[in-house]
């Protein structure tokens, strides 16, 4: 976070936060978001800061940032995007999600269910990118089901630029999470109600 404070946030700032998973970092996502097409899409949508949690993949991040900086300079400062990164966070990424929430920004994440559940509670637009290289893993199914319910957008490493543009419209029409009423049942139960019912507490 030290790097981002060099370019302090103003009311006009708009933060895109990318998290790749701490234990087995999703290096393709780091490369993809730092690709010229993604950077241009971010610039076009008015983002001022790009913050990346790279986990243990520091070298991938550093290499990609060099390429990204070269691209931004060659464009002659048309896209003014401050790029910063960090490896781990002790506070479960709460500060980063808050930053996105306050700046009306965007979260791009690997499709781990923990991060999805945490990020959606900040009511921020979320793009999840399933890691297709993982075997027997249900990230793809979960991301697709969540997208069908309009909670988030599913992206992949080859089309981040289009999904970044879509995210601006999605911001206003995304469903609230956790849902107040969901599913086909009219009387939706909370887990507390299920517990009470199991024990026969009906009052």
């Amino acid at each position: 976070m030290a790097e981002i404070s060099e370019n302090p946030l103003s009311p006009d700032s708009k933060v895109c936060f990318v998290t790749t998973g701490a234990t087995a970092p999703f290096t393709e996502l780091i490369r993809s978001v730092l690709r010229p097409s993604s950077l241009d899409a971010l610039g076009h949508a008015g983002y001022t800061h790009l913050l990346i949690q790279y986990g243990t993949a520091r070298s991938v991040f550093q290499q990609s940032v060099e390429v990204a900086q070269a691209h931004l300079q060659s464009e002659g400062g048309k896209v003014a995007l401050t790029i910063a990164g960090f490896d781990f966070d002790n506070n479960a990424l709460k500060d980063q999600f808050k930053l996105v929430q306050d700046s009306k920004g965007l979260v791009i994440s690997h499709a781990g269910s923990g991060t999805i559940l945490a990020a959606l509670r900040y009511q921020v637009p979320l793009v999840v990118v399933p890691n297709t290289s993982l075997l027997d893993n249900h990230q793809e199914e979960l991301a697709a089901a969540m997208e069908r319910s309009n909670y988030l957008l599913k992206g992949d490493v080859d089309n981040l630029d289009t999904v970044i543009s879509t995210a601006e419209d999605f911001r206003v029409k995304m469903s609230q999470f956790p849902p107040i009423t969901s599913g086909k049942h009219r009387e939706t139960k909370s887990f507390g109600a299920i517990m009470d019912e199991t024990l026969g507490f009906m009052d």
Binding site: L142, P178, K184, F191, D196, T198
Partner: protein, 289 residues
Amino acid sequence: MAPPLSSLYTLSFLCALLITLFVGASLRLLAILPRARFQPTAIRRKPSPTRVLVVLGSGGHTHEMMYLLRALDPRTYTHRTYIVSSADSFSAARAREFERLLEDKIKDEQITRAIQKQSFQGMKEGNGVLRLEETEPGRPACVGPAHYDIAVIPRARKIHQSLLTTPFTALMTLLFSFKPLLSATPWIPDQAPQNAREAAARDLPDLILVNGPATAVIVVLASLILRFFNIKGANSRDKCKTVYVESFARVKTLSLSGKLLIKVVDRFIVQWEELEGKGGRAEFWGILV
């Protein structure tokens, strides 16, 4: 004249004995296992002290369990026991944090109530001291370290542990899970229960909440054994009701723990509609985490 005792040591007698035991055990199992669909049983009144046992395990499962528990009412669930695996300091810390937040929430409610009351009385008397009431209206909220405990049991299977030794470590987990099932660790050691709430904490849990880790499967198995032999009246007093919640990440297929437990838990809850009715009994009430 009675036949000599040695006539009992025959193969046919052994077979007969085994078959009798097998039939008896099967009948008993059929009697204690839940029906296909959950049906609410006897209606209880809320003031009865209630102990709930929550099995935590590995990062993701613990996260989801904590989201599930956000609506837990400490006025109803008067004692909470959290079972964590050894070397899982993360889950133990999350349980403590959850209890601390629960305590803060209740305190905030008390302060708000006191301020409301004060501002009402203040119009008449006008003394500026805020007084928090020791006794609340209705049922007291049971928060604070006396109302929860964390039980640590050995891990069923370590990462990269060989499959050959897993049955032994799983057996150890099973043996160690009886203690927290039979009673919570008392806040003050060696003190007899002082009231009905403390007595409930030293009794079998009324409710067991699990969601997926291997430890959970073993704890449910242990609770079935208690019900099978009706230890401490586990079955006759309707204790140890089990609720399994499948992970939110499971959209189309059940997890291994889910497949193992679907027929034996009292309620099996899924969070995606496609899984509703699995095993003839999976319930769907929307996303709960």
